[in-house]
Amino acid sequence: MIAWLQSRAGRWTAGGFAFLLVLPAILPELMPANQANFWLGNIFGRAIVFGIIAMSLTFLATYGGFVSLAQMSVAGVAGYVVAITVNGAAPSIVGGLTYVTAIPLGIVAAVLAALFVGVVSVRTRDIYLLMITLALAMGFFRFVETNIAWFNGYEGIRNVLGPTVFGLPFRDPHVIYYVSLLLAATLYGGVLYLVRSPFGLVLQGIRDNPRRIAALGYNVALHRVAAFGVAGFIAGCGGVMMTIYNIGISPGSVGLGATINVLIMSVIGGLGHPIGAFIGSLIFAFFDTFAATIYDRNRFNTLIGIVFLVIVLVSPDGVIGLAKRSYAYLKAKSAPQRWDKPT
């Protein structure tokens, strides 16, 4: 841990986390209070919430070498289970549970759903994996859209307000921001820990060379399914936060647009490191919010599409890759040249 904090990546991550911790205190100094709350909740808070879901995708891509398009659906499973089972949601489908029990139940459901996705798609790779996970995602979307009895169909389930935290309502921008930030930091730290464990090392081995992993005695399929389960846990946490952030969930939350948005966030940020999910999510939230100011609200897709294309063309490994190369370039430029001998 201490060694990691002393590394360049560790210093940057710790610095970024410290900055995000004090951000709610800085924003009111820079802008009026209502704008500060807007930035805190609608830009940074939202970026963190969706960044968690995107991180479930980047976890699989970075360390497992495979991209799943079902992550938003897995998040949706957690969100729907919470919305269906918790007290106070409208309409009340099942109800009867407090958030303390509904949230773990939602996360368990997400893990089970992710394991199911893993089992179904474990033998597929590349484009075939994308297609099968997309098919599962669209199947889930259609299922919740057409099922009125359990999911209230197109309308979805509203009034999922979230629990109170130390007596404070979850809807307070500061509460939702800090809870999301701490959850994201914990999950991010968990991912960095996990990838150093035997499971994480084997997962990276599968990414680099599945045939060799099998020849060493590991069951490749079992590890891949387990990786889906871990990603499902992350997506489930994100899904619960998303549902509370949006005060409910509807089929639109898990539709094709939402599914692709998570992929766009991950690619913009960079699939080479889990932190890319949060950077991509922040850029996405910024353009989504200010598209109207920059150009035209109805042209958001065009705008984010252009950003996506530019990023993919300039830096296939996203903003993270671009930052790494820029840092290396500047470092090389500032380093004394061999022929610059002191006179």
Binding site: S197, G205, R207
Partner: protein
């Protein structure tokens, strides 16, 4: 009662569509024996290796490992029964360090291989990974990413990863492939230092490495076994001369 051989191949065949890559291969490898498999390119040596190791099942015949039928069990379960192997082209985990490659290799056959806990510095398996690195002369590059190793070091790591799980049967597929004349003696010494009681099957083009190393040699051509004999007799066998040098060829 006599012990069963390390490997028993009976009429093993492997077909890929219309191509019969391996046909009717029958031979045994005794426990503790060092057995070389020779043959020109396309002879079916690596396909036979892959069939024994479980990359794909045989389409005919049977394979027994220490008396147990293993023809149709997957590669990871064969590895757990004691097969360690190297590949003709290094199959390593380039994104991981040498230490992590060996650590993964050490744990592969253990019952508690599936763990979410980061090992401590004094973990027995981390220590074993260090020992294996020393054995294959890679201690000085333990923390280096495998993608940054030289070709010779990658070949040494290949052997190290196969040895890490303490296999009962070691299958070496051209361990000296692509090595420079400077790097070959290093690998040759590494192979020579392997425990004498370990059963080893070796595919190798380089006769200078294969013949002094082997107790018995099997020569293959067109997917079939041509001859099995001692290295001395193989060297003088006219059929082997013809396979390697063509008609009228001379022995090296």
């Amino acid at each position: 009662m006599s012990q069963s051989p390390a490997i028993e191949l009976k009429n093993v065949g492997r077909r890929f569509g219309a191509l019969q890559a391996v046909r009717d291969v029958t031979f045994d490898v005794a426990r503790g024996e060092r057995h070389a498999v020779l043959g020109p390119n396309g002879a079916g040596k690596t396909t036979l290796f892959n069939t024994i190791c479980g990359d794909f099942p045989p389409t005919a015949g049977s394979i027994k490992l220490f008396g147990e039928e293993i023809s149709h069990i997957p590669a990871h379960r064969r590895a757990r029964r004691g097969i360690g192997r190297t590949y003709q082209q290094s199959l390593l985990f380039d994104g991981l360090s040498v230490r992590d490659n060996l650590f993964v290799a050490v744990r592969g056959v253990l019952p508690n291989r599936f763990s979410f806990l980061v090992p401590r510095r004094d973990d027995a398996f981390v220590a074993k990974a260090r020992d294996v690195a020393e054995r294959v002369r890679l201690s000085h590059v333990l923390g280096v990413a495998v993608g940054d190793l030289s070709h010779g070091q990658r070949r040494q790591l290949e052997v190290g990863m196969a040895l890490a799980s303490d296999p009962k049967l070691l299958m070496l597929d051209e361990p000296a492939a692509g090595l420079s004349p400077v790097e070959r003696p290093e690998l040759s010494k590494l192979l020579k230092d392997l425990p004498r009681d370990l059963t080893i099957v070796l595919i190798e083009h380089d006769m200078d490495i294969a013949l002094p190393f082997a107790d018995l040699v099997t020569v293959m051509k067109d997917g079939a076994v041509v001859v099995s004999d001692t290295p001395d007799r193989i060297q003088d066998d006219p059929v082997v001369h013809e396979i390697y040098l063509g008609h009228g060829g001379h022995k090296h």
